[in-house]
Symmetry: C2
Subunit: 302 residues, 2 copies
């Protein structure tokens, strides 16, 4: 199954306690598309400016990502700057330059319109909404968002969620969106907005999956070193949806396995700056880390 | 295998967003002993004052806990008061009245001295140290501690850890004790101090087990409601050690299972004030929740 990924492509400037990187490839769609590209064919929808480096485009091409929907608009590429603190769980946004994103409207090429899986990565929910009229009837619509849209575009976000099968939220977003401190209550309220599956991302504490039938928890991979957490959540979504697309089934077993692959792709992402660690993985590396993650979680009751 | 539990017995006054309780049974040894009592025979070592209510003593007796080592000293029982905030992850200590604890020295009755498992629950490490001379050669020495002793009694704590097989720490304590933000590095340094097994408790995010051979993560039980988190860590230790005592083996499989039982006893503890939820559990309730926890964590890689 192909996946259409709609989101942002950016040039990020990031500083962490371990170093810094200037104008490197970033954006929700970049991380998600690259992570998912290890599992299935990806069709990208985003916008860049005339200054978008050929080298960055080359990364997508090398991973076989269809860039027919990667519009080049007059002006400069979206830029984001962030700084991480010592504990890496908190970051400051140093600047956001929307640039070409200011006038962007996603346009799906005709070849994209029958894709069975649609992933609306984190962009303004009003733009996410515009996609629904351009795609026939995907078997799975997955959505990501962020705290900013909960604060500033809640109605649009709710309209998106009403048409979503699955939503990725982090813990704080789940609480912010619902006012519930405890996750079971927060998730019940999110499911009432539309999505039957809710994935709650908890960063270094792992992730939770809520379906109508069951709940599932997976820990994060325990890394000796976290270099740059940027994009880990987007890569999680990419690995998760990539596995589902490859499996072709969305049952409980495959959803749980997807949580594993999401976790694995997120862990690789944090090991280097930008997308550097998820452009040249091998199938064996992914399978190997997935087996390690399973060994980390396996036990038997009496 | 019997377990000797040395620690505090207190009268707690607790307020949470859901209510409050005055002078109810608390203390590290109380929670640990009650939780462990579902698995094996427990011998308690602690001190109370002449005002210790017969009803509280009755709770120990009903669970078959040997109170020969529960000294009654002239004066008042140790008291602690705490208040939890809305998110329940943070609490303020409102008061601490050491009372009879001020002059306490643990004394093990002769019948305790051959116990195969020793649990030094959270008390001043100088008191924990005094126990080693009173017990022959336990097969397993497990230790718990708190941030206060890391700040004020580090040398004593290190002397205790040097003689411990297993230590329970929470995430912040692991970082505070070692200065490492990432757990693998923190745990390596803790293991260098003595214990070959390290359990890192992460509250609502579950717990991690580090052994020389492997690492294991278990999530917390996802509760609809957390009533009072007091003592959950102590009950975790009790359930963990209780299972090991009953199993009689300390291999990887049993250690992982112990993490499950620790998690289950901790989860019950938070469902009511004080020890109220862990005085009348049935074997079926414990087994049932353990099976639920397993279903919550079970998956298979490809």
């Amino acid at each position: 199954m192909d996946i259409v990924v709609v989101g942002s492509v950016a040039l990020d400037s990031i500083s962490t306690p371990y170093g810094s990187a200037e104008e490197c490839l970033g954006g929700s769609a970049s991380y998600a598309a690259l992570a998912a590209s290890y599992f299935t064919s990806i069709k990208l929808v985003a916008v860049v400016g005339e200054d978008f480096p050929e080298s960055a485009r080359g990364l997508f091409r090398r991973r076989g990502i269809d860039c027919a929907g990667l519009e080049v608009a007059p002006g400069k590429t979206f830029r984001w700057g962030g700084r991480y603190h010592k504990d890496m769980n908190h970051r400051d946004t140093l600047f956001t330059q929307l640039n070409v994103f200011e006038h962007f409207h996603p346009k799906l090429p005709p070849a994209y319109r029958d894709a069975p899986i649609l992933f609306l990565a984190n962009i303004h929910p009003a733009l996410q909404l515009e996609v629904f009229d351009q795609i026939s009837r995907p078997r799975l619509v997955a959505v990501d968002t962020m705290n900013l849209w909960i604060e500033t575009a809640l109605d649009d976000l709710k309209a998106v969620l009403a048409r979503a099968d699955l939503v990725f939220v982090n813990e704080e977003e789940a609480r912010q969106l619902t006012g519930h401190a405890l996750l079971p209550a927060a998730v019940a309220q999110i499911r009432a907005l539309g999505p039957r599956w809710v994935v709650v991302k908890k960063g270094e504490h792992g992730a939770l999956l809520f379906t109508p039938e069951s709940r599932f928890a997976v820990p994060a991979v325990l890394l000796e070193r976290v270099f740059d957490p940027t994009g880990a959540g987007d890569a999680f979504a990419g690995g998760f949806l990539g596995h589902l697309a490859r499996a072709g089934r969305f049952d409980d077993e495959e959803l749980r396995r997807a949580m594993g692959f999401g976790t694995v792709l997120a862990s690789f992402t944090t090991e280097h700056f930008s997308v550097d660690r998820i452009t040249d993985l091998t199938a064996d590396q992914i399978r190997g880390r997935c087996a390690e993650l399973h060994a980390f979680t396996r036990w038997t009751p009496e």
